[in-house]
């Protein structure tokens, strides 16, 4: 059953009839933000700088894609922040500047991330702990593990061949990190929109019971979703450490809130049942453009926070209208 029809509104109606209605609203928000950026600081909106935003958002985008996958199933992964840190610390310490260790360590760290994700999944699916608590608990455990592993003092650094993927440019213009993101995004997009897994995942979020009664193995799919989120969070951590160059527990980026916000801005509701990789990446870019606008405004911190809130509210309010 539907809710009330909104009162008719010329422009909105036009929009709803036009082919534009198939474009995700977040894209409009993103375009609007870029226009604002260009007004506030034309330099920042130059193509090279815009492309660079993709690189800046790379680690968060990887994490956010994982978060989206879990959110589509109706869950939540609060452990991503710690997984990023653990991946960062472990990679730096184990690679310790040695080029030839990069590949095995990257694989190992990805595996550990996936295992943490699967553990979340086991708690949620088999032991029926609500995702919020299960992944929050995991967040504490993994952070504690990162502290214990590094003794609080992370060491080691990342050799140039891996740093390239966080900092470098291919053909001098395309950030390597953007290529990583693009590849991961393509795979994730394919997984979500072309495979039976994606279809089942969406169905679980839309109506678990119907999915179950349609023969979907709710447990297996949910487990996999959490596993992927863990995997992608550790991938985000790896991209971050390639960017940072050394092991660090001090990651300033709020990967947890950022990943959820990007997903929500990108059209994944808390209830689950829908969501797209493209939307989430647009959500991440939205945040990156927002930060650029704030930087260009050169406000003091208090003013920055106020402006940040108002811009977010205005942007999401505008496109919430288009969506209803």
């Amino acid at each position: 059953m539907t809710s009330f029809t909104p009162t008719t509104n010329g422009i909105l109606d036009l929009y709803r009839r036009s082919p534009l209605r198939h474009v995700q609203p977040v894209v409009f928000a993103l375009v609007g933000m870029v226009i604002v950026l260009a007004l506030v600081s034309p330099r920042s909106a130059e193509p090279a700088n815009l492309i660079n935003l993709v690189r800046q958002g790379g680690p968060l985008a990887l994490v956010a894609i994982g978060q989206t996958i879990v959110m589509i199933s109706g869950g939540l992964d609060l452990s991503v922040g710690s997984v990023v840190i653990l991946a960062d610390v472990m990679a730096a310490q184990m690679i310790s500047g040695q080029e030839e260790r990069v590949i095995p360590v990257v694989l190992l760290v990805l595996g550990i991330g996936a295992l943490i994700g699967l553990a979340n999944g086991v708690l949620v699916v088999l032991l029926r702990v609500t995702p919020f608590i299960a992944t929050l608990g995991m967040n504490f455990v993994v952070f504690g593990a990162a502290l214990l592993y590094s003794g609080g003092a992370p060491r080691g650094d990342i050799p140039p061949n891996m740093r390239f993927w966080g900092n470098g440019f291919i053909a001098e213009v395309i950030p390597a990190a953007a290529v990583v993101l693009l590849l991961v995004a393509l795979v994730a997009w394919f997984l979500l929109s072309r495979t039976t897994f994606g279809r089942r995942l969406t169905a679980i979020g839309a109506n678990r019971r119907v999915a179950y009664l349609s023969g979907v193995s709710v447990r297996r799919v949910t487990l996999l979703a959490y596993g992927l989120s863990g995997l992608l969070a550790s991938a985000g951590g790896l991209l971050l450490v390639a960017f940072v160059g050394v092991g660090t527990l001090e990651v300033g980026t709020d990967f947890l809130l950022g990943s959820i916000a990007a997903s929500v801005i990108g059209g994944t509701p808390f209830e689950g049942g829908k969501g797209t990789v493209g939307g989430t990446i647009a959500g991440v870019l939205f945040l990156m453009v927002l930060y650029s606008i704030l930087t260009a405004l050169a406000l003091p911190v208090s003013g920055r926070r106020i402006a940040e809130g108002l811009i977010i509210l205005a942007a999401v309010a505008l496109y919430a209208r288009a969506r209803t």
Partner: protein, 499 residues
């Protein structure tokens, strides 16, 4: 009858993106009459009713209430006028109690502004008692069966002193006894001078209760006439636009030989020692009073409810049923009676819903083959004439009957060997029913076995090769379909002769 119109619907039109739901509809409902509204699935009945309830706003046209034009901007405004509605889809709150649901927003209060629980429960008990049901007002709603929820919906609407009571398919989930009580209530309302708009796809009910019948077709008003001046055939012809021949296809004979599915000594939480054999090519009806184990049996055979003892064999092979997927690998399909909760994922599209149980067939190495899926969906949507602007339309935007057709579609194309159908034609119009019966029949004659639970005894009697009757979780009788009758089924179901 000369009484003045209570309600005049004047030139109402309403469109949704891609769908013209109502086109210039006008008719009147007089004071104290029961006015039936009939039409195919998607004809616009519910849309019109939602306009009367203040949920939707017409694109054009208007409404007069006792001669005065009124604008119904919200459900609250409609309620204030005295319009009360039983929606086709339940609108109940699973986490609240029955009484809280019934008197939502109208809770009796104590002097201190607190809820007067005693009065709340007492009032609800009375209202329930009027329908001769014994649901505990304090029971949480999520504990109730679909039929019980339907009763709660009815009682909720009756709790208003409504001048106009709209009932959008109130009987779809009810058994004959309950329907009888509902008739009594409607009579009482009439006596009080209230009017009733009654929507149903069961024409016998329509003729039994209504004074006037209005037919809608494709959003247009076909006509309104006193019920006494119409015949069944005429109404059907106006609804469907053609003459319907036989509703039921030729009855399939009881099967023999090696059974397709065999159940031995099955014991479950609500089932006692069930033995049954389902043969290829037959339709096996399961009958009994609500709550006596038919639903449970059907669900158990699909792996939803636990099996405590006994065994299930398909084609002679004993199978483990722990999950619906186990049943599905053996070619079992299951259609639940709770469409909204267990049938469709409302936010997903028609294609996504139909595809869900069939993904393995539509995919190669887990990659879904769009063209395969689309083609299959389009075909079944056409066969069942699901009224939708496209196969990507979110199911929640379909009419109730078309949602049901979507659920049927997803199972019918799964090439099932055993179909377990619980209330398969709930809310489906006469025309489409015929088509569905034909399809079920066709599947059975091609070698599938069908197990059907239906509270619509006509349907059960019309289709079944054999009828098994359950009482208290045990099978008490097996009746040949050709000779079974309502009386013989009731006798087996209750153990006593009914008058």
């Amino acid at each position: 009858m000369t009484s003045a119109p209570l309600l005049s619907i004047e030139h109402i039109s309403k469109s949704f993106p891609g769908v013209r739901a109502l086109a210039d509809v006008s008719f009147e409902v007089r004071t104290g009459e029961v006015h039936a509204l009939v039409g195919e699935n998607g004809a616009g009945k519910s849309t019109l009713m939602k306009i009367l309830a203040g949920v939707y706003h017409p694109d054009s046209g208007g409404i007069r209430w006792q001669g005065q034009p009124v604008a119904l901007r919200s459900p609250a405004e409609a309620q204030r006028l005295g319009i009360s509605i039983i929606y086709q889809e339940f609108n109940l709150l699973p986490d609240l109690t029955v009484a809280e649901n019934v008197l939502l927003n109208r809770e009796p209060r104590t002097r201190w502004g607190m809820i007067d629980w005693r009065a709340l429960n007492e009032r609800t008990r009375q209202l329930l008692g009027d329908l001769d049901t014994h649901i505990d007002p304090r029971a949480p709603l999520h504990d109730l069966s679909v039929a019980q929820q339907q009763i709660v919906e009815i009682v909720k609407a009756l709790a208003f002193d409504a001048r106009l009571l709209i009932m959008d398919e109130p009987t779809a989930a009810l058994n004959p006894t309950e329907v009888g009580h509902l008739y009594t209530m409607i009579e009482r309302l009439k006596q009080r001078g209230s009017s009733v708009i009654f929507i149903s796809h069961r024409l016998d009910e329509v003729f039994h209760i209504s004074d006037t019948i209005t037919v809608l077709k494709d959003g247009q008003h076909v006509g309104s006439a006193p019920a006494s001046s119409l015949t069944r055939e005429e109404v059907v012809r106006r609804m469907v636009g053609r003459q319907l021949q036989d509703i039921f296809p030729a009855r399939l004979p009881p099967g023999s030989g090696e059974p397709l599915m065999e159940v031995r000594g099955l014991q479950g939480p609500r089932l006692r020692d069930i033995d049954l054999r389902l043969h290829a090519g037959e339709i096996l009806g399961l009958a009994g009073l609500e709550g006596h184990g038919q639903r449970e049996l059907a669900r158990t055979l699909f792996g939803i409810e636990p099996i405590q003892r006994g065994e299930v064999r398909i084609r002679g092979q004993a199978i483990h049923l722990r999950h619906p997927a186990d049943a599905m690998t053996h070619g079992v399909a299951f259609l639940s009676d709770d469409r909204k909760v267990e049938g469709v994922a409302l936010t997903l599209g028609v294609r996504e819903n139909i595809g869900l149980p069939n993904l393995d067939r539509f995919s190669r190495m887990t990659v879904v083959q769009d063209t395969l899926e689309r083609a299959a969906c389009r075909q079944i949507v056409e066969t069942l004439s699901v009224k939708t602007p496209g196969i990507e339309q979110p199911v929640r935007l379909l009419s109730g009957g078309n949602q049901q057709k979507t659920v049927l579609s997803k199972w019918l194309i799964s090439e099932p060997r055993v179909l377990i159908f619980v209330e398969p034609t709930r809310g489906i119009d006469v025309g489409a029913k015929v088509e569905i019966y034909r399809l079920i029949h066709q599947l059975a004659s091609q070698g599938a076995g069908v197990l059907m639970v239906s509270s619509d005894l006509l349907e059960l009697l019309g289709l079944s090769s054999r009828v098994l009757v359950l009482r208290d979780g045990a099978i008490t009788a097996e009746l040949p379909g050709a000779t079974a009758s309502e009386e013989s089924i009731m006798l087996a179901a209750t153990g006593v002769h009914t008058g």
